[in-house]
């Protein structure tokens, strides 16, 4: 019996101790008409050898194409140490640190994580993480409403660069609490906020600014932050933690800084893995800490006055507050945060700067190369971090399909997300790509564009 240790003798002795004749009798409180004979839809068991063979076969179908897609999930080199240590059984198979004395490893790791992510975002305090970046925006919006009592509206304004999927997720999660989301108009030239469109009588409860934007552009975060603060709004920053090696931390945006920073932690040592598990980080100013959702670890002392770590501010949480909790969340993404903490410890700030700067350098090489081809140009002017929107002279989908046939995943078809961005392609390059990889992509694109059949319709 896979993973069940009982010998026949064990089972017999245990049944005798309980005083029942067989295993079925243990279920005698269940109405007999509900008991099923067999289940459909589940095949016969495979041995480890068989499932290993099957999974290798399936993995081979997907292969390891050369990937130039970003859009919220980024391919970075993950040092061997990260998952070697994170999947040690003592991290991998432990649970939420309810028994603090027997969970100091997990608790101290989270405390160190909270310290690192606050350093990176510049804000005062952090929670132990949320599910992912998208749901993080939902939680941040709910938090903004709880904390911003001065503004009566429940309208959250989104800069045009906010990831459209994040907006959908926030709407699905926070929408049922009567929070509404509306987008600020985009300046077609820069891809950023159209400041002329802003209504100075607006009374948003929060303004969400994503930097770098979903379209790869760099927003004038200072101006937008100041505008939001003047309206009494909470400023929510969505940032890529890797970009913070080069870009101004949310705490320094505008005259007073963002109130809350959140985003996708995946670039910090978490594999792409088809979209998860990742982790959402959230940091905020000290004054908002009691409205922050999720677990928080604090340092305290034990009976001998020695330092130790424990979950704290639990009075905000569902297991205490039940229907009045700040969120229904009862876990963080412990294992992913463990990986990220190891990653940040290994890289240090200088390592992050190297990764981020090489990513930007590689992106520039690709963008310059592609834009030298006929029929490719940038959609927006201005600086970028490691993602850029390009406009092709034809629909993107058939071009991507032709590239994929050569095992090159050439980017994201933006028109599928933002219909007004016709024929637009979002590309991303990180430090993992060599000049040869990049040139191979440029070459493949040249050939595809030269092929009339890829022009599609």
């Amino acid at each position: 019996m896979p993973f069940i240790p009982h010998t026949r003798k064990d089972t017999e002795e245990m049944l005798a101790a309980i005083g029942v004749p067989d295993l079925d009798t243990l279920f005698d409180e269940i109405p007999p008409e509900l008991i099923i004979d067999s289940i459909e839809g589940v095949p016969e068991a495979l041995s480890e050898m068989q499932i290993t063979r099957l999974m290798h076969k399936r993995a081979a179908i997907d292969g390891t194409p050369s990937c130039f897609i970003g859009a919220g999930a980024y391919e970075h080199h993950i040092p061997t140490v990260v998952w070697d240590i994170a999947t040690r059984g003592e991290f991998y198979s432990a649970y939420t640190p309810y028994q603090a004395e027997a969970s100091q490893g997990t608790l101290q790791t989270i405390y160190e994580y909270q310290s690192m992510i606050t350093e990176l975002t510049g804000l005062d305090v952090s929670n132990a993480s949320l599910y992912d970046g998208a749901s993080g925006l939902a939680e941040a919006s709910l938090m903004a409403v709880r904390t911003n009592r001065a503004v009566k509206s429940r309208r959250v304004m989104l800069a045009p660069g906010v990831n459209p999927i994040y907006a959908q997720v926030a709407e699905a999660i926070a929408g049922s609490q009567a929070i509404t989301f509306e987008s600020i108009a985009m300046d077609a030239k820069t891809g950023n906020v159209d400041f002329d469109s802003l209504d100075d009588n607006a009374d948003p409860v929060a303004v969400v600014i994503q930097q770098p934007s979903f379209l790869g552009t760099l927003e004038d975060v200072d101006r937008l932050t100041n505008w939001a603060v003047e309206r009494g709004a909470i400023v929510i920053a969505i940032v890529n933690p890797m970009s913070l090696a080069l870009l101004k931390a949310p705490a320094q945006w505008g005259d007073s800084g963002a109130d809350i920073a959140c985003g996708e932690g995946q670039p910090l040592g978490v594999p792409l893995s088809s979209g998860g598990p990742y982790f959402g980080f959230m940091t905020c100013k000290q004054k908002h800490v009691r409205q922050m959702p999720g677990r928080i670890v604090g340092r305290t002392t034990d009976l001998d006055d020695k330092p130790g770590y424990a979950l704290t501010l639990q009075a905000r949480e569902q297991h205490i507050r039940r229907s009045k909790a700040t969120s229904n969340i009862c876990t963080n993404q412990g294992l992913m945060v463990t990986a990220a903490t190891i990653y940040m410890s290994l890289l240090g700030f200088d390592g992050l700067v190297k990764v981020a700067s090489q990513s930007q350098r590689n992106t520039k090489r690709l963008v310059d190369g592609l834009c030298s081809l006929d029929g490719v140009q940038r959609v927006f002017e201005g600086s970028y971090f490691h993602e850029v929107a390009l406009r092709l002279d034809r629909p993107v989908a058939p071009v991507l399909a032709a590239l994929a046939a050569n095992d090159i995943l050439g980017g994201l078809d933006l028109s599928a997300y933002t219909p007004e961005l016709e024929n637009a392609l979002l590309v991303c390059v990180t430090e993992t790509k060599t000049d040869e990889d990049i040139d191979e992509y440029i070459d493949a694109m040249r050939k595809v564009l030269a092929t009339e059949s890829a022009r599609g319709s």
Binding site: P65, E112, Y131, G276
Partner: protein
């Protein structure tokens, strides 16, 4: 083993030290406008590779875990996490697959997801499954949101009350509130089943649905579940199944057959994906035909093309009434892969064995502890995969509370059971051994419990200051909350 606390990684940091092999060799010139450029230097640690390895290895050794200790944490199903599940989910094509990669480079992954959906449909008796919720609590959210969407789609706009038993997990009422519903608590009867009369009285034209765990958080099977379902449906409400305790009935009884309309599963419990120190979870939802149209997206669909099965994402166009997206991509895919591998290794017949041996272990432990003089919360009842003992007697006579026993157990090298939950049993321990523990382990645990109780009773031993053998002794929670220290402060 002697434990020693570690300094913080920040305190081990030395300016200018690097783990050289980890980053690209050089910093490249960058192009960022001055107004947007970072000028300060955040205080991340500066350490060598060996220092980092040693630091986090030592930290890991300060944890209890399934791999190192018996972990009978009630309601959490801390069973063995097979190593193959992890290794196979991290095969390079799976670990490196971009979530927005084309389906042409995802058929292998998607076939696993499709088959996982099918297997979960099979064990739950529902008609469709969405894998996207990222944890149990998000699965709950999806469930209640679907119930709400169902009523709204029918023009039934007044239904905003969610009934929740008083024994329920705290996430249930918190979820209902998040969905904009009003929570109505239903009391439990003395035998652990729901108070039927109170339920009848609570139902009405405002009832949106009821959230139930069966077996309940009290460790007993709700015997009148079919009548409960009938009653709720007659009142126009729907039934939500909290899958926290699915391990107890896997392969024996299906929530769909009990009359539930929607269920969330905790794949990190029943299907043995790692708890990871508190996540990632994975909270797939199953629905019957009533709620199929409202499932969270995306879902994996399959179609036959030229004699071959081709997988594709079902999203807004396929499910226009969906409650929407709950994650940036498709949920915790890597966790889902682990669950897939686990279910394939367990197989059809193995599912039933999980419920049988989890239940055998719980009833055996219950019998032994009762024989040793511990008070069962529901003595007349069969245990499901977990059960509750109450220490209210010991708390009065020898001043030994559930908390004291929990801490004393740590010193005996056992993780404590769940304490003080459910809230309605005083001084309770909720004990769930799971099917992967051997008889010897259970016997050892019983011996430890007996010794703890006997020492308190016969020798006057107090556990108020236990544990003694852990890396730290009891921590000052009040100080932790009052003098908030939740990050390292750099000495300036």
């Amino acid at each position: 083993m002697e434990y020693r606390m570690e300094k913080l990684i920040f305190e081990k940091s030395r300016s200018g030290r690097r783990a050289f092999a980890q980053a690209p060799r050089e910093t490249a010139a960058t192009d960022i406008p001055d107004a947007l450029r970072r000028t300060d230097r955040p205080g991340l640690p500066e350490a060598s590779e060996l220092q980092v390895v040693r630091h986090f290895t030592r930290l890991s050794q300060l944890n209890f875990s399934i791999d190192t200790q018996f972990y009978p944490l009630g309601s959490c199903t801390m069973k063995y996490n097979p190593r193959a599940c992890n290794a196979l989910a991290l095969l390079p094509p799976f670990a490196g697959r971009h979530p927005l990669g084309p389906v042409s480079h995802g058929q292998g992954f998607m076939s696993c997801m499709y088959e996982l959906q099918e297997m979960l449909i099979g064990v739950t008796g529902m008609t469709a499954v969405s894998l996207t919720p990222m944890a149990g609590a998000q699965g709950e959210f999806a469930g209640v949101a679907m119930i709400k969407a169902y009523h709204v789609a029918r023009g039934d706009l007044e239904r905003n009350e969610i009934l929740v038993p008083d024994a329920a997990h705290g996430t249930n009422p918190a979820t209902a509130t998040m969905c904009g519903c009003v929570v109505k608590e239903i009391p439990t009867g003395p035998d652990g089943d729901i108070n039927f009369e109170a339920l009848q009285a609570a139902l009405g034209p405002k009832t949106a649905g009821i959230m139930l765990t069966n077996p309940s958080t009290l460790g007993v099977f709700e015997r009148r579940i079919v009548d409960v379902a009938k009653l709720v449906h007659e009142a126009g409400g729907l039934l939500y199944y909290d899958g926290a305790n699915l391990n107890a009935i896997l392969g024996k009884v299906r929530p769909g057959d009990m009359g539930f309309d929607v269920i969330h599963m905790n794949l990190h419990k029943t299907f043995s994906t790692p708890h990871g120190g508190g996540g990632p979870g994975s909270g797939a939802v199953g629905v019957n035909d009533r709620l199929k149209a409202f499932m969270p997206i995306p879902v994996v669909g399959a179609e036959e093309r030229d004699g071959e099965t081709v997988y594709r994402w079902l999203a807004e166009d396929d499910l226009p009434q969906s409650i929407g997206r709950l994650s940036g991509f498709m949920g915790n895919s890597g966790v889902l892969l682990r669950a897939y591998v686990y279910m394939r290794m367990i197989g059809r017949d193995g599912m039933r064995r999980i419920a049988e041996y989890a239940t055998l272990n719980a009833n055996y432990l219950q019998t032994k502890l009762a024989a040793a003089g511990f008070e069962l919360a529901f003595p007349g009842r069969r245990a499901s995969h977990e059960f509750i003992i109450s220490l209210r007697k010991e708390a009065k006579t020898v001043n030994m509370t559930a908390m004291d026993v929990a801490k004393a157990l740590l010193d005996c090298n056992y993780h404590a059971p769940t304490t003080y939950f459910p809230l309605l049993v005083p001084e309770c321990l909720l004990i769930e051994p799971t099917e992967t523990e051997s008889k010897e382990t259970l016997d050892g645990f019983v011996d430890a419990m007996i010794k703890i109780a006997n020492d308190a009773r016969d020798k006057g031993v107090s556990y108020k200051e236990a544990p003694y053998k852990m890396p730290v002794r009891r921590l000052d929670d009040v100080k932790a909350a009052r003098q908030l220290d939740i990050r390292f402060q750099r000495p300036d």
